[in-house]
């Protein structure tokens, strides 16, 4: 199935790709065929910097359970961080 179902969001931060670290500006989240993961479908996340180019990409392909656990872990980690730190905005 080629779903093209894609969630797009703007993000701020950095990622490490094939050519080293770069500043991230965008992310895509979608459920479709993986390139490498041994599943017919996977939850895929691309961290991107389109201004740099298509190769500025950090990609992960997760089975659906792993993806949900990751999402919960992200929320858990953020919730456990001291409130003051959570408000810090890095430019």
């Amino acid at each position: 199935m080629c779903t093209y179902t894609t969630e797009h969001l703007k993000v701020s931060g950095s990622g490490k790709g094939a050519n080293g670290w770069f500043r991230l500006s965008d992310a895509s989240v979608y459920f479709d065929h993986p390139v490498h993961a041994p599943y017919e479908h996977s939850l895929n996340i691309d961290f991107l910097a389109p201004d740099i180019g298509p190769s500025a990409r950090v990609a992960v392909e997760l089975d659906p359970d792993s993806a949900r656990e990751l999402a919960n872990a992200i929320f858990a980690a953020l919730d456990k961080a001291p409130g003051q730190l959570r408000l810090i905005e890095v430019k």
């Binding site: 199935m1 390139v35 017919e40 991107l48 190769s55």
Partner: protein
């Protein structure tokens, strides 16, 4: 069959006169050979697709696969290019047709060409194969599990495609359709509807729906691979192209 071939990346003129990258393989003999434009699946102009191009050369065809993502991601790795193209909603239909036209003209211009050109596409390329066959003057078209020839993407899909079954009266060549019974894109019902539509317009076609197979059963590097369906499918392709392209 020929175990001698040349396979290489070339530049062809695609839609709008754009220079685009393409992978070209052909037997080294004098020919004449039939030709095939291979339309890659949504994951892009990747290694398995290039293997398919060489497979056609092995079986005595000139074959070329244009990199449909040449413009969005020149020089990028196929997976990065596919991610970029996906984020933009896929390849516009008009541009696809122009790129296939350029690829077909390139093949016909080769000294060993017999003047006949077919098309084959997998996954999203299956729909694009049909689209090419209703838009261009071709000699044979193979559709491998192409979705949205019939039916519209569900609400909320950012996929910028519309059904093309209404264009069936314009079909320029015979169609071989290879589908998996367990596929949801397209469903058996959608395949049946396309079958009926082609019959209604007296368009020569041959459809096979493989039990136990779903989407992408030809893809040897994916869990969806179904050897029996794929091997029978290839046999059907050689028979079909042998009849309409090679002779």
């Amino acid at each position: 069959m020929s175990d001698q071939m040349i396979a290489e990346t070339v530049e062809i003129t695609g839609s709008g006169g754009d220079a685009i990258e393409a992978y070209f393989a052909r037997p080294t003999g004098e020919g004449p050979y039939g030709s095939v434009v291979v339309i890659h699946h949504m994951p892009g102009y990747d290694e398995p697709t290039k293997e398919i191009v060489r497979k056609f050369a092995y079986h005595g065809y000139q074959a070329i696969c244009p990199n449909l993502y040449s413009r969005e991601a020149p020089g990028a790795a196929p997976d990065d290019a596919a991610a970029t193209a996906r984020a933009q909603g896929g390849v516009p239909d008009e541009r696809l047709v122009g790129d296939v036209k350029g690829a077909a003209e390139f093949l016909k211009s080769q000294p060993a060409s017999n003047g006949k050109v077919g098309v084959i596409g997998y996954c999203s390329g299956g729909r694009q194969s049909f689209l090419s066959a209703v838009s261009l003057d071709l000699d044979a078209a193979v559709v491998c599990y192409g979705a949205f020839i019939v039916g519209t993407p569900p609400e909320g899909f950012p996929l910028k495609v519309k059904p093309v079954v209404d264009l069936a009266p314009n079909l320029s060549c015979p169609v071989l359709g290879l589908f998996g019974e367990e596929d949801q894109y397209p469903t058996k019902e959608e395949v049946a509807q396309l079958d009926q539509e082609l019959t209604k317009h007296s368009k020569e076609h041959e459809f096979h729906i493989y039990p136990g197979a779903g989407h992408a059963f030809f893809a040897v590097d994916r869990p969806s691979y179904r050897p029996e369906a794929a091997m029978d499918g290839w046999a059907k392709i050689w028979e079909f192209y042998g009849k309409y392209l090679a002779s």
